[in-house]
Symmetry: C2
Subunit: 277 residues, 2 copies
DNA sequence: CTCCATGATGGAACGTCGCTCCAGTCATGT
DNA sequence: ACATGACTGGAGCGACGTTCCATCATGGAG
């Protein structure tokens, strides 16, 4: 990689791996998951397959790189040492939500009120990924694929590291680091992904229809399930209809955070089963 | 639907959707994710594409059906008392925990103690899926895909319902049902999937090499990361090397369970300001 | 018993995909 | 000036998912 020699403009601009990945992301954003084709890519970059394959091994690597780039941007947006430039987009959207009201996070740990408590940073990371998935509908699928195919790729460690640092900052004993970080990462990725999938489907099915109508239809479909086979889902359908996405997402994070703090505060000596007290 | 008329044996046995799905599962198991091809399927069933497309709309539906079948089998294995053999294996392997001390020791599957607390049932469901993923390496990917693509498909409600019932049985107030069930489902699917992916990769890279060697290499790769960029991952690499999969998985479940119970116990008693006890 | 509408089948073929091959182009070091 | 090697892009290959359609077996109507 890299001698980065300033080529002349053989075309408008020299081809580079970054340019390819950038084009891939744009293609995914505009044309959907199936829209990323080497043929479409060659046309968009005004080149041939050979040129692309010189910079990228295969399509999987290209998808990984695209995922990596988007995730890195999302994480950098709220990470301490990063450009605050990209921050605006993410946090601006994070604010006008119905967030602060009813969701009173579980601050079972001592003092969770400081502006930059580990809890808050974890929430910031989570919402950064949450928003990135909203901006790039293909991201949840790709993230899930990469997580379940090569967990030690470049993307997973990034997320794991960012979450893990805050877990450490929470005062969790080292023996629980992996468990706590895993629980957080998997919930965040899973819940954010599923939420993004909901929105994506809502948009796909009826681009103009209000989102409420879609949720209405979805929960209606759930309520129409066989009462004998799906009593729980039917019962939950109502609250799914009314829930606010971000609030619900936050509630789940706080649930896991509660578990983390409760576990290591009270149960340093065991008692993993929280059953009857 | 269908009148299920007993056709004669035009071939050895009449073609049916079930037979197709069954063949698809076997094909996935033996040839891997990429091994399921309509051409391979036609050859295996001694038929043509048209016959298959008569029973199945497209490949995605076939994959959904295969996932559905395997998940249903995994979930059904726990609810009624199915094979106790698999159960014993699960809990027996989960037992040599370095952490299980006082609180609730008796996890043996035999009737004793609290025979089937909601917690135990949740663990049983989780390990059922855990084992199913071990048996079918393609399942985690497919499950993740389906979860992030069409969350209201047939598979997700199944899992959600099974977990949800136990959440309800835990005494969680209705307002927290969705949050609690979501946290559990996403952790279980995510963690089990990632673990299965680890095993699958270990097998793929070196079928004969001992699993410990692979974990060694994997955690070594993590330790070789840049200490400045990945301090946390480096720190947990060591414990990843030594961890027992099922134990780690169980620890995460208990963490979420702790969060669930702590949240609703404190939430019911007082306001939202519980100091952990 | 015959006949045919229909459910069901499987072979051929189409369009597109990821990817490879290779002849070519251009900046650069000598 | 020219050989070199990084880099390009067009042609084409094999495989895939899917469609089309001619064909077959069956069971109800006559």
């Amino acid at each position: 990689m890299a001698t980065r020699t300033r080529r002349s403009q053989r075309r408008t601009e020299a081809l580079s791996r970054d340019r390819i990945v950038e084009a891939a992301v744009e293609l995914l954003d505009t044309a959907g998951e199936g829209g990323l084709t080497f043929r479409a890519l060659t046309e968009r970059l005004a080149t041939g397959p050979g040129a692309i394959y010189w910079h990228v091994a295969n399509k999987d690597e290209l998808l990984d790189a695209a995922t990596d780039a988007v995730v890195a941007a999302a994480l950098a947006a709220d990470s301490p040492r990063a450009e605050p430039s990209a921050r605006v987009e993410s946090s601006a959207r994070a604010e006008p939500s119905t967030r602060g009201e009813s969701a009173e996070p579980a601050e079972s740990a001592e003092s969770a009120k400081s502006p930059d408590s580990p809890q808050d940073k974890i929430r910031a990371i989570a919402f950064g990924l949450f928003d990135a998935m909203a901006d790039h509908p293909w991201l949840p699928t790709q993230l899930a694929l990469q997580l379940s195919r090569s967990p030690w790729g470049s993307v997973t460690p990034q997320i794991f590291e960012n979450i893990g640092r805050q877990v450490r900052a929470l005062g969790v004993p080292e023996g629980h680091w992996f468990t706590a970080a895993s629980a957080l990462v998997h919930y965040i990725l899973g819940a954010a992904g599923q939420n993004a999938a909901n929105n994506a489907s809502a948009r796909a099915l009826a681009p103009d229809v209000d989102r409420a109508e879609f949720l209405d239809a979805a929960s209606q479909a759930w309520e129409d399930l066989d009462p004998d086979d799906y009593p729980f889902i039917r019962a939950v359908a109502a609250q799914v209809r009314e829930h606010d996405d971000r609030e619900q997402f936050l509630a789940g994070i706080d649930l896991v955070l509660t578990g983390i703090t409760a576990l290591h505060l009270s149960g340093e000596q065991g008692g993993t089963t929280p059953s009857a007290t």
